[in-house]
């Protein structure tokens, strides 16, 4: 290029070569350091609590509740399979309850999202029903279901259905109205509209609802399992209390927390997977 060129072009080299160690360090700190610090703080508080209990003569019989005995028990229960024996029935109940909640919540949610009159009709009843503590359904559940397990699944489903239903309906209402018009124009019938347009559009909303539902269901599960059944995590806790095995009790609490955490993680993964937002 000669200097006679009447304009010049400058390019900026944005890409830097090599690794930015400073940035890497701060990322490592925020991604790994903080979470680990959080866990350490939590266990320290637990340890302090355990120490306070152990040093108080009135409560010292509960000393096994502290982290050290709990974790050694946890290892033992993990290796002898007791944890799986307790967790699998619970997970089955959660799974079934959520399945029912999805089977009912998603179609009803889609319908409520599509038809504004249905939304008006159902809004108040649904809000009222939603506010009823799932455990308040217990007597009805016991009457209606012949098995305790059936009753528990019912309680989980009735707790889990609302977040799924509301989130689904909200997802439908947020859809671009032109998506419907265009699909109709391109020849979509109702079924194709549902499968190709509505469901993919609201996938992330459905899973966001399921995530909330998992949280609620997991909370309902344990007290529900205090009653009647002789399996599951709630039963294991209640049983440990009755037999004064406080290390087992504490270990089961940890198990409940950890499984809940993983279930939530699965939901977060699915929300991301079904999200079409560019930054999703």
């Amino acid at each position: 290029m000669s200097s006679a060129q009447p304009f010049s072009t400058t390019t900026f080299d944005i890409a830097e070569s090599g690794i930015d160690w400073k940035k890497f360090g701060s990322t490592l700190l925020s991604q790994v350091g903080y979470p680990i610090a959080g866990i350490v703080i939590l266990i320290s508080i637990w340890w302090l609590g355990g120490w306070a209990i152990a040093s108080n003569p009135d409560t010292e019989s509960f000393a096994d509740f502290a982290p050290a005995p709990a974790f050694s028990k946890l290892l033992e229960l993990f290796t002898n399979g007791y944890i799986w024996e307790a967790a699998i029935p619970s997970l089955e109940r959660i799974g079934l309850g959520l399945l029912w909640a999805v089977v009912i919540g998603v179609p009803v949610g889609v319908a409520v999202g599509l038809y504004s009159n249905l939304q008006k009709l159902t809004n108040i009843p649904f809000q009222l029903l939603r506010m009823i503590s799932p455990l308040a359904w217990m007597p009805i559940a016991v009457l209606a279901f012949s098995t305790w397990s059936g009753a528990i699944v019912f309680l989980i489903a009735i707790a889990a259905v609302w977040p799924i239903l509301f989130s689904t309906a909200q997802g439908v209402r947020r859809m671009d109205p032109l998506w419907f018009k265009i699909a109709k124009n391109l020849g979509a019938d109702s079924l194709k509209m549902l499968i190709k347009v509505i469901l993919p559009a609201i996938g992330q909303d459905i899973f966001a609802g399921i995530r909330l539902a998992v949280g609620v269901a997991w909370i309902v599960l344990v007290p529900a399992e205090y009653l009647g059944v002789t399996s599951g995590l709630g039963y294991a806790i209640n049983d440990a209390r009755d037999t004064l095995e406080y290390d087992t009790l504490a270990a089961m609490v940890v198990v409940i927390g950890v499984i809940g955490f993983f279930l939530d993680g699965i939901c977060v993964f699915l929300i991301k997977k079904f999200s079409w937002h560019q930054e999703g």
Binding site: L114, R173, D176, P177, F180, K181, L186, G187, K192
Partner: protein, 270 residues
Amino acid sequence: MSANINIDFISHTFKGQEKPTLKDIALNIAAGERVALIGRSGCGKSTLLHMLAGLLIPSEGCVRIKSHQVTKPSAKWNMMFQKPSLYPWMNVRKNIELGLTFAGVKDPEKIDYLLDLVDLSDKADAHVQSLSGGQQQRVALARSLATSPEVLLLDEPFSALDAFTRASLQDEVAGITEKEDLTMVLVTHDIDEAVAMGDRVLIMSANPGSIVGEVKVDLPFPRERSSSEFNLVKEQLMKTFESLVGDSAPVNISPIESHATEPEDKADAA
């Protein structure tokens, strides 16, 4: 493969309203003709276009395309809107293919052809949200063309775009309607656009909406916007518009969202 449109004394009154929005619109559009429709905001242009698409049924009168009465939407007459409204969970190719997918047809060559037609071959697998506004509107155009429509209905399709993109897309679409032998009805607020794309410009008045005049544009494509002939037609159109519906401002400013014909209920559209 074009089709003529016969609008047979359409009148329309929306539910719960007393005054008609459209009154006694009667019009013939020849096969392969390009018609532009201009008028003030709210005069009923989008309403009329929805009726041509079968997305709205007039309370009186009817629309016939190739002498068949339009009673529901069909992929044979496709509408394009101001917003591209692409489906963001599908890539460019899947978006364009959608009409064929609904019909259960697989025709990758056709999609390749359309990608090439709208100059997006290199973006086939791209995420639609990563495209520019003009590129998105070109995808929407290709999506409308995939079902081999006979009629293309455009509701201010370029008004959200910058002036350069708009002008090149106007020429592109006009060229495509010629190449694919399509009948086109274009609603626009832009006099330039009307003259650049229409064989005939219809002027619509409001309250109630009716067609009150027309100006013929007899210029070859692609139209040279700076030519004296172009500007002569434009002037004539502006004068006619003002004398028929105008006070000072010839055409109003377009609102960003087309609010009016949004269905009250999602299910109306579903």
